[in-house]
């Protein structure tokens, strides 16, 4: 029906867009037409000015002022980085494209993960030297199960070395802690209810009870 480039129909669609009554493909076409046609831009301004004046006469501004304002703002917008809100349709190809380059970072991520695990276990050993044999067993288990999952995630994840490493790192900490909580709970479920003096164990019980 309406064909692109036919003056009036393109204008009429722009008018519909002004009212938010145009579908998505129509909006895309109309925006492109607006950007490429000074006459359409002048219409767009005139129509909105008309709407403003109809609603309130004190919005009838000097047209030269409007034009200057928008010209100035356009220059400032050109200096701005283009905004891009994350959308599912766009996120998909981005991951695929950087997949090849992500390969070396996978090892970096794995290294970071391993370092994180060592840190967790190390900290653990220092903080609780011999008090907690079962927890150390839990920590010893962690590298195998945890290291595997973030590496797999890193391969599908786009992105540079740093963010992946950080995300993986925090995951390790959280997961290992969770493991410990669960492990501790299993181990001391009965005894903590009877009143074990350690605050740490008590919070583990509460935590798992809330779950």
């Amino acid at each position: 029906m309406a064909i692109d480039g036919f003056g009036d129909s393109a204008k009429e669609r722009l008018s519909a867009l002004a009212d938010g009554e145009l579908d998505r493909p129509g909006s895309t076409t109309s925006c492109a037409a607006w950007a490429g046609d000074a006459a359409l831009r002048a219409d767009w301004h005139a129509w909105h000015l008309i709407g403003d004046v109809l609603r309130s006469e004190d919005l009838a501004s000097n047209p030269g002022h409007d034009r200057d304002f928008c010209a100035k703002l356009r220059l400032r917008l050109q200096a701005e980085p283009v905004v891009l809100a994350p959308m599912p349709a766009i996120a998909e190809p981005a991951g695929g494209r950087s997949d090849r380059r992500a390969r070396p970072s996978r090892w970096a991520a794995a290294g970071a993960v391993a370092a994180g695990v060592v840190l967790v276990v190390g900290t653990f050993a220092v903080v609780r030297p011999g008090e907690w044999p079962t927890a150390q067993v839990a920590g010893g288990d962690a590298p195998v199960s945890i290291a595997a999952s973030p590496v797999g995630a890193a391969s599908t994840e786009e992105a540079a070395v740093q963010p992946v490493a950080i995300v993986a790192d925090s995951k390790v900490f959280r997961d290992a802690q969770l493991e410990r909580y669960l492990e501790a709970h299993k181990q001391f479920a009965g005894t903590s209810a009877l009143g074990v003096p350690s605050a740490f164990l008590r919070s583990a019980t509460v935590d798992s009870a809330a779950r």
Binding site: A42, A46, I50, E57, L84
Partner: protein, 202 residues
């Protein structure tokens, strides 16, 4: 307004990286935003600058705009915050702007001549605004009943095409065409007033 936000299609375009769609929103709202800021900030010379800042901030923040409110409501809030911030900064670091000085020197016989006055305040600009307002009203009066009703229901009552179609008992396509023809007819009367400066194009 309970109708879906009329700006949603343009906002979506901006979120996909279409800066021009944001310019379209600027053209649409610049007058309202400037009026709003003008009510908060006495100094008319500062109003366009604060309005510019408002739009730049809105552009930067747009990825976070979730559409929970209408786009204009969101923009309105940014304008209010930007104006407040400017007023605070002004209090801390007062600067004498052209119109503030003119206001103080009212009794002086030394009006502002050398510096270019801001166009919002000049008698010429006020006259131009008045001419536009009367041209619009005159053009609306001259419309056929159908066109006048359609444009009024849309612009003043804020109804959707569907609601107008129901009220006017005609297909939605007819509503769309009537509103468009009404706009064109009014714009035709405005054009001599709008195209005042040669070489200035939108």
């Amino acid at each position: 307004m309970n109708a879906p936000d009329a700006d949603a299609p343009l906002v979506e375009r901006v979120k996909q990286g279409d800066v021009k769609a944001f310019e379209m929103l600027v053209v649409k709202y610049q007058r309202r935003i400037e009026r709003l800021i003008g009510r908060m900030v006495r100094d008319v010379d500062l109003v366009p600058d604060i309005a510019q800042e408002t739009f730049i901030r809105a552009y930067r923040a747009l990825p976070q705009f979730r559409g929970d409110s209408a786009f204009y409501t969101w923009l309105y809030r940014i304008a209010v915050n930007t104006a407040k911030k400017s007023l605070m900064e002004l209090k801390r670091d007062p600067l004498v702007t052209e119109s503030a000085r003119a206001g103080r020197d009212e009794d002086d016989d030394n009006p502002r001549v050398e510096n270019e006055p801001s166009d919002a305040a000049t008698p010429d600009a006020v006259l131009a605004s008045k001419q536009i307002a009367s041209a619009v009203n005159f053009a609306v009066e001259a419309l056929s009943e159908d066109l006048r009703q359609a444009i009024t229901l849309r612009e003043i009552e804020g109804l959707s095409y569907e609601e107008i179609a129901e009220l006017m008992n005609c297909p939605i396509g007819t509503v769309r065409s009537r509103i468009f023809r009404a706009r064109e007819a009014i714009a035709a009367r405005l054009r001599p007033l709008l195209d005042t400066r040669e070489g200035d194009r939108w």
